[in-house]
């Protein structure tokens, strides 16, 4: 069995005095698409915050390619190839679309490759290309989501974490986004860890799924197993 790309073990995390995650463990293999399902308040965003190095875990450990990661900070996790598309998109509103993309690549030093990547993602997201000099804050919700994804991809991550990218978007747009993600995963091999509340579309592109309930991982398995499970279907897929 090959070494997983990324593992997080026995995570305990929270805010202030409240513990949100209780002994959570997840694994992502190279090129995998993993989905984390859960209701509001289950701790999904907290989980991604911790994985991205944004929120320090109270307990737990991480490995990348089998090696333990020492200090946890966003820029260090980026060096390990883990990038987060935050909930709410985190658009740098006063900056142009192009500048947003450039910020995504801020930790890279290969200028020419950065410019090549910008062109590449502009071709994947033509809407962004059209608006390259536009102020990002004036973009629509769907366009800002595309920008957030493109920005996160600019650091050439091996694992892309996506926090509820479907929030507030029209179904047609969401479908397009997931299709694009699937293509990116297929072509670049970037592994994906998606967090979603209503996960119908996410399950279509997923290989494995975790179920997070009130800070605990209560179930994990393949996407087929999840689709076949009646209670999960009822609770999270709506039918």
């Amino acid at each position: 069995m090959s070494t997983p790309l990324f593992t997080a073990e026995n995570l305990v995390a929270g805010y202030g005095g409240a513990t949100v995650l209780h002994d959570v463990s997840v694994t992502v293999d190279e090129h995998e698409v993993v989905v984390v399902l859960g209701a509001n308040g289950a701790g999904k965003s907290t989980l991604l915050s911790v994985l991205a190095g944004q929120l320090p875990a109270l307990q737990g450990s991480f490995t990348v390619d089998g090696k333990t990661v020492g200090q946890i900070r966003p820029d260090i996790m980026l060096q390990h190839g883990i990038s987060l598309v935050p909930q709410g998109r985190g658009t740098l509103a006063p900056l142009s679309v192009l500048d947003n993309m450039r910020v995504g690549a801020i930790s890279r030093s290969d200028r020419r490759e950065v410019e090549a990547d910008i062109d590449r993602w502009f071709s994947v997201f033509p809407r962004l290309a059209e608006r390259r000099d536009q102020i990002a804050g004036t973009l629509s919700g769907g366009e800002q989501q595309m920008l957030a994804i493109a920005r996160a991809l600019m650091s050439r991550p091996r694992l892309l974490l996506c926090d509820e990218i479907s929030l507030g978007l029209a179904p047609v747009i969401i479908q397009g986004l997931f299709e694009t993600l699937r293509e990116i995963n297929a072509e670049s091999g970037t592994a994906l860890l998606l967090v979603e509340q209503n996960a119908q579309l996410a399950l279509d592109i997923a290989s494995r799924v975790y179920l997070l309930e009130v800070g605990h991982v209560t179930a994990s398995g393949t996407a087929e197993q999840f689709r076949a499970d009646d209670s999960i279907r009822a609770a999270y897929l709506g039918y």
Binding site: A52, Q54, P74, D75, L78, S83, L84, P86, G90, T91, L92, A93, P94, L95, D99, R102, V103, G104, I106, S107, R151, A152, M154, S155
Partner: protein, 299 residues
């Protein structure tokens, strides 16, 4: 006509000074979302350092270089060790820290160098006949110089913010620090650099403006008025806007010159009161200023 023009020239000169200090305030506000009330005292302290070196025979344009460096270090250290630790707590604490810096630096100036007024060398050409005449009004060389320097600084800052990686990082942190951090920006480092840059610029501006602003000599109260005018200018233009600082500063400078000249009963000595009124009106009517995008507080 020539009186109007000469008033405009005078106003543009003092306005350019306000722009320079206003820019320092803008740089800090953009990154930290706070106003550095001690900005003027940073400038004053470093100007004393410059003066001290000129007393030792170093030419003023040379002496200003280490002073700028000292300013940079002061600003960076203040952000790292004094401002950042209390920022998490509440913004009132930040203000009080700034006031402590204000009083402390001012007192330090007096302690180290004495409270008497010092003669500060002029950095810009001046003297008999150092002016050109336009439509009957005199435009002095030092006025031209300071206005030119101001535009050069604005140009340089704009290039820095829009064309360099660090400038991009500063803009990113100003827009959304969390997002910037997720992209790998070292937010703390950027904040420290912003404060350093701001203080360095104020060191430069301080030395330039001391001879130009009444009383024309270096004294402990030298920056009080300039701080108020610069604050009014920055507010008028928008606290997070470089362009706004230019418009606000020049507008305020020229406006005050015209008001003082033409509105008799104000007697020419009510500039500070006018500035106070400007500040209050802006905050009541349009808190983001003319070109600003963000407010200090969200309702």
């Amino acid at each position: 006509m020539e009186i109007l023009l000469s008033r405009v020239f005078a106003g543009a000169t003092s306005g350019s000074i306000y722009v320079l200090i206003a820019l320092c305030l803008v740089i800090v506000f953009r990154s930290s979302s706070t106003i550095n009330f001690a900005q003027g005292e940073f400038a004053l302290f470093t100007t004393y350092v410059t003066w001290w070196m000129t007393e030792r025979g170093i030419h003023v344009w040379l002496a200003i270089v280490p002073a700028i460096l000292v300013g940079f270090l002061m600003g960076a250290a203040a952000e790292r060790w004094l401002i950042r630790p209390v920022k998490k707590r509440d913004e009132t604490a930040v203000l009080i820290v700034a006031l402590a810096l204000f009083t402390g630096l001012n007192g330090l100036d007096g302690w180290i160098w004495g409270s008497d007024d010092k003669v500060f060398p002029r950095m810009l050409p001046s003297g008999e006949g150092s002016y050109i005449t336009i439509a009957g009004a005199r435009l002095h060389y030092d006025s031209i110089a300071i206005i030119a320097i101001m535009f050069a600084v604005v140009g340089g800052l704009t290039l820095f913010f829009n064309r360099t990686s660090m400038g991009l990082q500063m803009r990113a942190v100003a827009a959304n620090p969390e997002s910037a951090a997720l992209c790998g920006v070292r937010v703390g480092r950027v904040l420290t650099l912003s404060w350093g840059l701001s203080a360095a610029l104020s060191a430069f501006a301080g030395a330039l403006l001391i001879p130009l602003v009444p009383p024309g000599q270096l004294g402990l109260a030298g920056m009080f008025h300039v701080l108020i005018f610069a604050t009014a200018a920055a507010l008028l233009g928008g606290l997070d806007s470089v362009k706004g600082a230019v418009v606000g500063g020049l507008g305020l400078g020229i406006g005050l010159a015209l008001v003082n000249g033409y509105v008799g009963f104000l007697g020419g000595s009510m500039s500070l009161t006018v500035a106070l009124v400007v500040i209050v009106v802006i905050l009541l009517v349009r808190p983001t200023g003319l070109f600003g995008a963000r407010r200090l507080e969200r309702v």
